[in-house]
Structures are given as C-alpha cells and as structure tokens.
Symmetry: C5
Subunit: 270 residues, 5 copies
C-alpha cells in the first residue's frame, strides 16, 4: 500500500447553489418581492458577518447559465454550523423563490506534500505543549509556513471577484492510478502543479477542500480572480501538467461573480 | 472460476432518504406543521423502539446539501418489515411534506475472509446441533469472534454521531478485476484493508451490508463517528489501500448527523 | 465473425413499474380510494387470469425503495397484448394515483448453448411434420428437454415469493468482448454459469428474456425465491463466474415481493 | 488520416416521441377528448399525405413502456419542413395531452462503401449532364443501384408493422477505433455487415440516417418488420459481426407498432 | 510537462437554450401572447443591436427536437454583460412561457498553434508600443493574420443560416492523451484539422470558444452553414482526422436555424 499523506483540516465548506423561480418572481406582488429581498439581504449579511459561529466566512455569487442563479458559500468550523446555515436559509421569504439544484460539502485541507516540516513539527508539538519556544532560525520559517497554511485552512473570500467552482477526483484506472503512485512521486507531481499556481500569485486565489467521504468527488476547488480569462488560463495550463493530464477527473464547472448582499435586489430585478 | 467467499447474513437494511418541501412547510398553517411533527416523532420513536419487529434498529439523521434533508435508517430481520416501515411512513402527516429522492436496500453480511474458523465451525455446527459444548480453549476464541460477528450482523446505531453513507462495488475491468482474483489474494487485500479499520477503532464504526441482487451497487457502507474529519480520514487512507485503489468503485456520498426524534420539530423549523 | 447462437422465443414480457403518489392517496376521499382499489384489483385479477389472451401470465409485486412501489409483470404471446395491458391499466381509477418511472420490454428466449440437440431436432422437424414419431430412446430425452425449454419460454410466476429484476448486457470492450469469443467458448462459459443455477434448484427460479433490439440492455433477468438471501447469494456467486466476472454488465436492480391482487388495498393503506 | 467515405444525403428525419398525460386524458370532458382526437387524426393524416412539402413520408407508431407512448416519424427534403411539422403538432388540441420526452434528428445517407461505382458515376455525371445515355451494359447495373439507393435516401414507411428505433455511434477507443481503420477495412466490415441484412430481406427493412453534427449519436437506425422476433434476431446476429462487436456503441432502443391515424382514438382509450 | 499553447481571448459567449411551454402558450389569451411576442422581439432586437455593451453580437435560432425550442447566442466583451443579458431575458413577458433546460458559457480563443508569428509579435509588441511601424513586407502578413484572428475573437453571426452547436473536450486516457502530446505534435494535428476547415471555406463558418474553467467541456463549437448537409459533412470528415478520431470527446449536438427577431411571433404560432 502506497503511503497516504498526513493532512490537517480547517473549516468545513458548503457550496449552496440556488436557482431562482423567475416566473414566480415576476408574478409576485411588489410587497412580497420586497420582503424576500429584505430577508435575503439580512440572511446574507448576518452570515457574511458570521453571527452564527465563532469564526468562518460566507459570500454570495451570481452564477451564469442554467445550472444555478446564486451560489452561497459558507466556511464554518463545524458541519453543524453549515447545516444550520442551510436550514436557516429555508426559513427566509427569499427561499420561497428558489430551489436548490445542487450543492457541495467539503473541508479545507492541507497535506504534508506541501510542507513536510510543518507536519513534522505538528507531530512533535504534542510533547512540547506548554514548553518554551525554540530560539533558532527554523522558527521563523515555521511561522511563515504556519501563516500560509492557516490561510489555506481558514480562507478569506476576496471581494467582488469572479469565481469558478468545480469538484474533482484523482483517477484510479489501470494505467492512470494516482493512489498506487509512491508518496514521493505524488509529492513531486503536486510540487510541479503548485509551481503553476505560484505563477498566478496575485491573480488567482485557490481554495482546496477535501470531500472524501463527504461528497461525490474527492475535492472541491474554488478559484477566485479579478479576470475570468485568468481562471480559464490557469485551469488550461494545469491541464497539461502531469497531475491533471494523467490523473485529474473533473466534475461540472460553475462560473460567477461575487456581489455584496445589498445588491441582491438589483440582481433579482435584472 | 475463482472461489467465492462463504457469507452469513444478518438484518436487512433500508436507507430511506427524504427531502423536505420547504415551500410547503413554510406555507402550512401551524396546526398542520404541529400535526406533522407529532406524527413524525411518533413514527420515529416507534421505529427506534422497534415496535414493528422482534428485533432491529432504526435512527433518523439530518443530511447536508441538496441530495436529501433526512435519512431514516432501518435494520430489520426481514425485507417485509422494511417494506412495512417504508409504507407506514407514507401514512404520516409528515410524509406530506417530504419526497423520497433516493434509497438503498441491503443486508448486513460477514464473509469468511474475516474469519475462516467461524465459518468452519458454522458449517460443522449442524451435525453438532444439540451436542455438548467442546471444553477446550478454542471455544473462547470462537465466542469472541461470534460476538464480533453478531455485532456486524445486528448492528447498534451509535447516538448523536456523524454519519457517512455510500454504496460501492468492486471493479470488473480487464486489468482491475476483483472477481477473477484468487480467494487468497482477495482475503489478503481485505485483511490489509481491515487493518486500517482497526486503527480507527473507537473513532469510527462501520456497518457493511451487501446489496448484490438487491440494489444498484454491491455494498452499502455506513460509517459513524464523533468527528467528521475522522470519516474523511479513514475513507482517504483506505483509498490508498490496494483493495480500494485498484478495485473500489464508489457511488454518491451522503453526510449527516443523528438526532433524537424529539428534535424533529426544531430541525424542521431551522 | 463469431457464430451467433440459434434461439427460440416464447412469450413477450413487460415489467411495468409504478410509483404511488402517496400525497394524492392520503388526500383522496375514501370513496375515491375504494374505487381505485376496486378497479386496481379487477385489473390485476383479470390479467392474472389472462382474460386478454389465449395464454400468458401476470403478477403484481411490491417493490422496496424509491425506484418504484409496484411492479406488474405481464407475459403474453404478442407485443400487442403487452401494449393493450399497459394501456388498459391507464384507464383504471388506480392509475390516477400512479406514475410509471421505468419499464422493461423483452421476450423469453432459449439458445442452443443450452441444448444443441433440441435445436437440431427443431430444424429437422419441419420436413418431418406429420410424420411418425421415432421409436428410439432419443425421443424421451428430447421430451425432457422440450418440457424444460417450454418452461423457460412460457414461465409460471411463483406465488408469494421475493423477486429481483435487473437488465444486463455482455461487454464488448477490447479485452473483454463476449461477441468475439468463439461459439464453443461462450457455450462452455454459459454451461459453467448454468451449474451455479442448478445448485439453487428448488430455491431460485430464473426467467431470462432477451431485449436485444427491444430495450436498452440485452437481457432482462427475473429471479424468484422464497428467501431474499438466496437471491443475494446466487447473484454474488455468479459474479465470480467468468461469464459474469469478465463479460457481465448490470443495470439497476429492483427487489420486491409478490402479493395477491386482493391485498392491494392493504398494501396501499400501509 | 484515414480516408472518409463519400456520402449522398436524402431526406431529413425527425423521430418525434410523445408521452400521453393519462391523468389529464382520463380527467378531460369527452368533448375535449374528441376534439383532441379529431385534431390529432387530421394532423397525422395531413402529414402522412405530406401536404406540407413536395415529397416525404410520415407515420405514427404506438411505443411500449415508459419511454414514450407515441413516435411520429417525419421524412422531409428539408430541416425546415421538419421544424414546421414539429411546431404544427404543438398547435393541435392533442398536444395539450402530450409531452415530448425525447426526439432524434438525422438525414438519410448512403456512402460509397455500398457502391463505389455509383459514386464514381455521380462524380462523373456533372460533365455528362444533358449528354446521351451510354448504350452499354453498365447502364442497367447503374439503374439497379440507382433505384436501390433512391429507396435508401427516400424511404417508404411500411404499413402496420413493428418498429425498432435506436441511435448508435462507432467507437473511438484506443484499441477499438473505427475512425482510424483504413477505408478498405471499414468497407469490408460493412460489406459483411450488409450480408446479414440481406439474409433478412423481405422480413426486415432498415432505414439508416446520419446524425453526425445533428444529434448526439452518429446514426439513427429504424428497423421495420412484421414479426418483432425478427427485429430481435437481426440485431442480435449483427452484434456478433465485427463492425458491431468491436465498434458499435448503442443508445436507447424504442419498440412499437405503426397504426393508421384513424385508430388514434382507440389507442388513447386503451 | 508538455508545453501549453499561448492563447488570446476575445468575446465571452453565452449559448442560452430555451424550451417553450406550448401548453401555456396555447392556453394564454391572445393579449398575453401578443405582449410576450412584443417584449421578446424588443429584447432580441436590442441585443442584436448590442445596446447593452460597446461591442458584441447576438442572434436567435429555432432548434429542432426536444432539447430546446430556441437558442439565443450572445457574444460580449465581459462575463458581466452576458449575465445581464441572461437576467434581462427573465424580465420579459416572453420568459414566462419558457424554461432554460441548458446553456453554455465560453470565451472565444485563438492559440499559437494557429500562428506562432502572431503571438511572437504580440509578445514583442509591448516594448515597441508607440514606436514606429516597421516598413518591411512582414507587416502586411501580420495584418492579414491580425484580421483573421480578429474575426475569430470577435465573430460575426451569419444571417438566416443553419447552426450546429456542440461542446467538446480532448481525451486524457492512458493511450489517447492529448495533454501529454508534445506541443509540436498537437500543432501538426491541429494544422491537418484546419485543412479540412479550409476545404469548407465559404460553406461553413466556425466559432471556437474555450470553456476550460467556465463550463463542463473544454470548448464550445458553433458551426454556421447555408446547407445542413455541409454541417454533417464537415463534422463527419473531421471525425476521421487524428485530432478527433483519437482525442475528441463530444457532448450533445443542437441543430437549428437563425431567424430575424420579427419572425418570433410566426415561429411561436407554428
């Protein structure tokens, strides 16, 4: 058996997709539409302020095409908080005008492919608990990595930017089997993969969350960028990278743009 | 032809998934909602107490995402009892607010990969029926295995824990064909697979049920755990194990949490 | 081109699946429900008595899970009689409470893999028509086979037993191609496959019907048995057999139990 | 690049499938049902008489099972005429009781695999246009082929016979790739395939229409026959032929029977 | 890792498919139908005049078969303009009679497979910005290519012609993996592919748009032609070309015909 990576988990994620029943929306009296917008904005603002948990992040996005009209993304420390956020939406007057055609459940994750040393110190931390800080140069390095990883596990959601969400898995075919590769080979492939990501630093922000055991694919990927052409470019460039070219299996793609909750009414009125 | 394992069956299982029609729920008069909750709680309590059969177990879970809102799991000694439980639900006032988007039928099963000696004694038991108990040390071992297997065939459902359910099959591709492997090879692979399960003892409880001839995949797997990250971890770790890496074929995953029937009203009210 | 088998066809089969609209059922006035049950029972009894054709067989089964609630199976000498039975159901008051989520069309078939001699005599029969019976020992053998094949082509439906229905095809992949195997190899494989069937004689009755050119898979298989664990066992054991392990492609599985038409009301009332 | 065949196109084809809303049909006042039948019969008779185009053919078929209740087939010289026929149906009172669950768009096609000489003369015809007829024996041969091909491109629809429709493609897998075979190999394979068709002359009539660029598979195949067992037999026999065994990819199958428009009312009343 | 091509993007594209609810259309009072046509025509005319953006193009097409009745295609410089166009449609009275069964999001793209020199000059342009024009012969060539590429990135939509739209990807199978081919091999394959396109110059116009990261396949292809048989022919011929034969993966195909907005009423009235 090939050695699995060590992983650390951060926030749980719910990508909650909603279609709007435009016929019902057009037919509704203005008073009802106003109430729906009001309750919808209140819901979104509360959840963006994360009033339902100690920490986390939420955002709403418009989505292009028939697959959905809205994507509400929640990051929370527990699955229970996600469940509460999903159900709370159903109690708003806005929910009456929406259906939930799809959704995705995952948990942000970093693995030791990224930083062996981080995980080694994690492991070695337990005996050092309460002990003094080491005073050598390694600590600074650790601190940088720790902040980097913290950003992966507890991601910010960038303002007013374009988004692409897609689930993906790694292949387990006879001649393209990620899960029978040696740890070192997987690590090298992901390191090369990461290089491409770094080329897009400042242009594309990635949130990677594992959905193994939680949803139908193995990961959910959320990309944020100021220019949708950059989203196209990074996904296309990565497709030539061996990790994707040989082992990637991609689900549906959803593309949209974040908007502030107060723009909900304008969005719904077209 | 490769030798099939000997198997023993226990309780039949129905995983009954339900979506809630939230629009109808919001629109219903309080009196109707109260009646629905009352009848729903009564149904769930009766079935958790297994008043419809001599033995068995039932539980209700909230489910995250669009695939379902509730999962009701019934274990019963007969398919008939499952059918009765399914139909009985439809006669409650709660059913009016739900649809059944999916379901899964299976029967708990142990195979002689797990314990050759158990099956050998099973087979040899028939002639010994009514005979005296053997008085050597082997008996204690047998008793331990017998209790272990009994737990597999007639599983308890843990309280207030997270759950992951998924159906799965073994591949029959040209170069990844579980069903043409020799019995010994399958046995070794499953033994290694079981090792991982044992690492999670106390954290993850697994219920494995065969659905060969009963439903679309070959097994239904139900995992219970106090921390959903453990569920993610065990499924991820197992994926690197040859039995899964080369031969596993996985269906949709459903994740949720058990709640006591009396919390149904609170759940529905968000 | 590999030599195709010679085949003989018997009755055409329609597996007509129905879901019950339980919301409408609960909401209907008792008078309407009574009329629906009455017309439903009358339809089922008439068709079980085969009043619409010179010969054939029909039966109704409850089905577990979300895929269907009822399966009505009709065997008739012509496709026209199946079409009439399907449309006749739609004119009953019961139909108002049902939808037809799926169905399967096929025709019972035996092929000369089973009995070369039967097919040889079939072919040689035409010139002998009206001629005298041969008086040697071969005739008796022929008579046994003839009765066996008649039972395959014009099957009885066992009373009050469990049923499993599934459609299946044979693979045509590069390295797993049933249709490029030599006739003798296919014949040997099916002979071994048949051995397993014979082990379950008295426990499992199989009806095999071809759907090549008629429906989406190549065969429809209906298994009847007094114990659903036997159904699971035979399908599982056969899966290790080369004919299935290498060449079988299986569709969805439906499991249920036959009931007498007069129990329809009790079934619908849960 | 392997040499593509030369092709000639004839009539465009629309296979328009309709399900009947039996609940609405039962519930409708007799006057409405009569109007629906009257307009339905008028629509079908007009289209069978091809009053909407200079040439073509139309027919209506009952379909078994849940996939459809009616299949209306239109052959017309232009896509526009098909579009008009499809939309005209929607303006009948019958349409109110039907949905269109599926459909298929294609164009009848012959390719030079069938007759190299026909295509060679086609190509050489342009310079000879208006010229005198050649007076050698080749002409008669050409005339026979020309009539044969005309029958393929502008097909008659046989009366009151059974029909099987299915879409299909040719595989493009690594080891089963029709499109990288040499022209001669494809031609030989199709010639052998055609042999089987000729064995069924007088029993089965085939209409082959290309849907490359027009619909989801590459061809639509419509088989007509007086005995549905012949339909089963020809498709089964062909499946062993290398062209199908190695390269065929089949979509859903629909089976039914032609009826005269005046029988519509009887069909709908079950 | 194989070298990815350099790409340049032009307009974003939304293929917005709509089915008409013919039952509602027939049932609507004439006044409502007139208002729907009026608002529909106004919407289509405004968008064809591109009043919502500085540049772009829009057109409406009738679509054959069950997959859709209308396809509205929008090309715009931004995703936001597409989103606005999609939502604006929902505010028309026409939208009330339509559903959106599917859609496709992409962005027109040329890659340096097509013209290395164009991309080289693009790259070298930045330092030359504001500099004088070179006065050698290369400039004219560049100008021709530049106009050609401009036509690809900002496509005109031909009048009153037939259209075929389909999404496609390149395979990443073990033995058919586009993304592990060397750049030069891909370039050669696409050059041969382009040859076929050039044979159809004047008959078929192609618009290629990338949907990597934006929608479920990797490209959306829109073909326009005066004769639908040419559409069939070019797609069929290309299928024998190695780029398609070995590496093409095709989604659903939609076929239809452009009509001027003022014909909307006539189209809807059948």
């Amino acid at each position: 058996m090939a050695k699995p990576p060590r992983t650390e988990e951060g926030w749980y994620a719910l990508h909650d997709f909603r279609t709007v029943d435009w016929d019902a929306w057009r037919a509704a009296p203005e008073r009802e539409r106003e109430a729906a917008v009001e309750e919808g904005v209140a819901y979104l603002e509360e959840h963006e302020r994360v009033v339902d948990a100690e920490e986390g992040a939420s955002a709403v996005f418009s989505v292009l095409g028939h697959k959905a009209d809205l994507m509400i993304v929640h990051f929370r420390p527990t699955l229970d908080a996600l469940s509460a956020a999903e159900r709370r939406f159903e109690s708003t007057a806005l929910a009456e005008f929406t259906d939930q055609p799809t959704s995705y459940v995952s948990v942000t994750e970093v693995s030791d492919y990224v930083s062996d040393s981080y995980f080694d110190s994690e492991v070695s931390e337990t005996p050092r608990e309460g002990g003094e800080a080491a005073d050598d140069g390694e600590e600074e390095t650790d601190e940088g990595i720790r902040r980097y990883i913290e950003g992966k596990l507890k991601p910010d959601i960038p303002d007013t930017e374009y988004v692409s969400f897609y689930p993906m898995s790694r292949k387990r075919e006879a001649e393209q089997n990620w899960y029978t590769l040696e740890y070192e080979e997987r690590s090298d492939l992901l390191s090369a993969h990461g290089e491409i990501g770094r080329e897009y630093a400042g242009k594309i922000k990635q949130v990677i969350a594992s959905s193994v055991g939680l949803d139908d694919y193995e990961w959910g990927v959320t990309l944020f960028g100021g220019d949708p052409a950059d989203i196209k470019d990074i996904v296309y460039e990565m497709r030539f990278d061996e990790a994707s070219a040989e082992y990637g299996e991609f689900g549906p793609f959803y593309v949209g743009r974040r908007f502030p909750p107060t723009d909900l009414g304008a969005y719904l009125d077209g």
